[in-house]
Symmetry: C2
Subunit: 271 residues, 2 copies
């Protein structure tokens, strides 16, 4: 998917919502567990009820990988199920030497047909570039994550006082463009989203940490929105586990709609 196609979707749906698919056998409603593939049934119902309000889906690969070969079959089926006009993110946080990253890229972009994959920056250019060589596919590079541990390394300042995540933002712009490179920028500190936006004015940011992790959507929009929105705000647990009963999908749809309505207002205010 191209950047302009993604922006069209955002305008059409008045939404920049990404729904995170973290399907946990221990958390999905009990009545699904007797199905042949409970994880697939769960994701299918969630996607059907939220698709009108979401512009992106982000399956968290660990939740599928934890189920072994069967989990990979389910992941492939789920990725095929997502409507083609919705952006798909393989949240895999891969990254390895060149020939290995190339294989990860093939797994997610060719064997499956994801639009994008999250990638860890630690190993530098040759670990990221193989993912950037696929037409209309995207790297979403970790810059500033939303977890507590993000403070351990990402904020270490260099001799000039530049925090490490800023070095990642600057250096990686030599490898990709706003047409094929996004960044993960966590929502837990609004002013840092503003700092990241200064360093990467045109790029899309995938923003985790709204909801369960405590970030505010209004702050994200205030500090992070650019002229093509530039934001995909993810919510996982707040949507998919809003109800643990038989009405889980309907309630997920309602939660997604609430976020979409808030996003509509923010788009009208800032865009």
């Amino acid at each position: 998917m191209t950047r302009s196609e993604l922006f069209s979707q955002i305008q059409q749906k008045s939404s920049f919502l990404c729904v995170g698919l973290d399907p946990d056998l221990e958390k999905i409603p009990a009545h699904l567990r007797s199905e042949a593939d409970p994880i697939f049934s769960f994701c299918k119902a969630i996607i059907e009820e939220t698709a009108d309000f979401a512009v992106a889906y982000k399956p968290n690969i660990a939740f599928f990988e934890a189920l072994g070969a069967k989990g990979w079959e389910t992941l492939a089926k789920v990725s095929e199920l997502i409507p083609k006009d919705i952006f798909t993110i393989a949240d895999a946080k891969r990254g390895d030497i060149g020939n290995t990253s190339k294989l990860y890229a093939k797994a997610f972009f060719e064997s499956m047909d994801f639009d994008s994959i999250t990638v860890a920056p630690y190993m530098g250019k040759d670990s990221v570039s193989p993912f950037l060589e696929f037409k209309d596919k995207w790297v979403i590079l970790l810059a500033l994550t939303s977890n507590v541990g993000s403070m351990d390394f990402q904020l270490i300042e260099d001799k000039a006082g530049k925090p490490f995540y800023q070095s990642v933002l600057e250096k990686s712009q030599e490898w990709g463009s706003p047409e094929n490179l996004m960044y993960v920028v966590g929502a837990t500190r609004g002013e840092l989203i503003g700092e990241a936006r200064k360093a990467a004015p045109e790029h899309f940011f995938l923003v985790p940490g709204v909801g369960a992790q405590g970030g505010s959507l209004a702050e994200v929009a205030k500090y992070g929105m650019n002229s093509t929105c530039g934001l995909l705000v993810n919510s996982s647990r707040g949507i998919i586990y809003a109800s643990g009963e038989k009405d889980f999908a309907k309630v997920a749809g309602e939660e997604a709609q609430k976020l979409q309505e808030e996003m509509k207002e923010l788009l009208e205010r800032y865009l």
Copy 2:
């Protein structure tokens, strides 16, 4: 596997060789391609011929993941095939927020029975700790990698002149001990192995980059060996693709033996 069991193996075999399993359908000998599971047949033959000379095997997960669900079945079969007294490394370079890392840990330590997994440090403590909670299992944290891109971020100096990989070595020693935490330290620059050894005197280092990537085994031993050896030196392509013909496994065994003989001398010299 415990550290003392690993060291016993090293003494018994006079070897600190790790054989990297990067099984690529395009590179394995042509006569294997008609088998039901060519990748499994390839790995099985390699393991049989090299097991006397190796103390560790390191399947590169990307090579299996690239084959989808079937690749995961093959990976599980290969991991079961490796003799129990040989240390196993899932070269997966995972790392995510706590609840997600926990699932990756379950996939590699419970669903499969790997002794260790390679982990990327960028997301900090809560991305690494879940892997450290499994008894007799190991994290092998990326510190200084052997690829060209390692220069992009790993050598950035902080205000006090400390390179970033040194911050990773120092900080992470608060999370794990030499009994459950190793580091990836690339072989391409001997003096940097010495610097890493000063920062982590007791920990094992997994050293890639000998052979195909140009590092010297003698330099690695000189700068990196400690009182319990403290080294696992990996060779992948130099062993498994030493011959592309029907004799590939026999030739792999010979290459492994050559390295083991060199390692025997180095162990006698430095230990």
